[in-house]
């Protein structure tokens, strides 16, 4: 949905089809879709009546148009209210808005997907697409880092994805019984099989984590022009009018949230933006 279209500031009611607890702090909400097409990387503004509105990336499968999924971490009043929604209740939806991951541009190349924490949610549609059209891509690797084993999203799917793509998972802090890797997600990069001269990276997570990963990718020889990141700012209007999500010369809602790293990477370490 582009800025200026009628109705883009008016939420449409969407019935809750179900809610799935992902971690102690996050849940995936399934909404009844209203036919608005969307692409991996885009977000909707989700509205809870009487509470407020928040921007949430679409986390579902583009090949499953029968349900519209958003994975929400409960960190504020609106997101907490979203995580409490029950089947049959309604949420308001505006969108989809924003730019998309370069899934089509990545065809014929190695693809590296790097996710941190709940940053896996906006990348899940990409993983679905890459898995569905596996033969169209070179080597595909998902690197996923989380705070601890209990904070890992989509655990069963991570196992399923291993049949189609390489999946490496690490946590910052291990727990008893954890047999996976321990360390930051960037430490997995040397184990990713990719040709830096013909690869695309898509990165999503906390901004500090993305800064570190961008530096690690450059060490590997992957140029910023082949790296995309998803930015997060305080999005209110979602159509580039209110200015709350301004990032230097860009509005994250209108020009992002997915940016090529050479467009915004230089701003990541700047305290002024």
């Amino acid at each position: 949905m582009a800025a200026g279209e009628p109705g883009q500031l008016t939420p449409r009611p969407a019935r809750v089809l179900g809610r799935r607890r992902e971690t102690p702090e996050s849940a995936t909400i399934a909404l009844e879709p209203d036919g608005e097409p969307w692409m991996p990387g885009q977000f909707n503004m989700l509205y809870v009546c009487g509470v407020g509105e928040v921007a949430i990336s679409i986390s579902g499968d583009p090949g499953r148009p029968d349900r519209l999924l958003h994975t929400v971490r409960s960190v504020g009043m609106v997101s907490a209210a979203l995580c409490r929604l029950r089947r049959g209740e309604h949420a308001g939806v505006r969108g989809p808005f924003g730019s998309t991951w370069p899934v089509a541009e990545a065809r014929g190349r190695d693809v590296l997907v790097v996710a941190g924490g709940v940053g896996l949610a906006p990348l899940r549609p990409v993983v679905y697409e890459l898995s569905r059209h596996r033969g169209d891509y070179g080597r595909v690797t998902l690197l996923y880092g989380a705070r601890s084993p209990r904070d890992l999203l989509f655990r069963r799917e991570l196992e399923r994805w291993r049949r189609r793509i390489d999946v490496l998972v690490t946590v910052d802090r291990a727990a008893p019984g954890w047999t996976g890797d321990v360390g930051v997600v960037g430490s997995l990069l040397p184990r990713a099989a990719l040709d830096p001269s013909n690869a695309v990276a898509m990165v999503c997570g906390p901004e500090v984590m993305m800064r570190f990963v961008l530096a690690d990718l450059q060490r590997l020889g992957l140029p910023e022009a082949a790296t995309w990141i998803s930015m997060e700012r305080n999005m209110h209007c979602a159509v580039g009018l209110c200015g709350h999500c301004q990032l230097g010369p860009a509005f994250v809602c209108r020009d992002g949230p997915v940016f090529r790293a050479d467009a915004v990477g230089w701003m990541l370490g700047m305290k002024e933006v």
Partner: protein, 154 residues
């Protein structure tokens, strides 16, 4: 079949090392293996070697009487394991446990230090490489300490 010298030349930590130094380094190296569950080295032990992993994963661990074994980092194929061989008193600071069957190149620390004493250029090259490795691990540790996933919606 890959020779030790060829394997050493393929190690990430030795990227760009001149051939004569690769040969000197390979002269202190041999292939080794560890079964899953075996301690490759233990905290306080003689740090007389380091390794470059070729297969399998290794955990670096600290033992706490209150919490038992705490894994602080996992290393995998291509990673270098151990830098205490470079610095007195040459004692390991952590336990290194083979989580899976591990294949590695083992380097004799005393042998390499001896060659560095004779040829300071080699010493400079190796210290630069291990300094870079330590910088990367320090940065990674800082990122872990920041606990970046604890707050915010991501």
């Amino acid at each position: 079949m890959l020779t030790v010298a060829e394997a050493v030349a393929g190690c990430r930590v030795f990227d760009g090392l001149p051939l004569r130094y690769l040969e000197l380094t390979a002269g202190c190296a041999h292939f080794t293996r560890f079964d899953a569950g075996v301690a490759i080295f233990l905290e306080g032990g003689d740090a007389d070697r380091f390794f470059v992993l070729r297969e399998g994963r290794v955990t670096l661990e600290v033992f706490s009487p209150e919490r038992g074994r705490i894994v602080v980092q996992t290393l995998g194929p291509g990673d270098a394991l151990g830098w205490s061989w470079l610095f007195p008193p040459y004692r390991w600071h952590l336990d290194a446990m083979a989580r899976e069957p591990v294949a590695a190149i083992a380097f004799d620390g005393a042998c390499l230090r001896g060659k560095c004493d004779v040829d300071h250029e080699l010493g400079y090259e190796l210290l630069g490489r291990f300094g870079d490795l330590m910088l990367q691990r320090l940065q990674a540790t800082r990122l872990q300490l920041l606990d970046v996933y604890a707050h915010g919606s991501r």
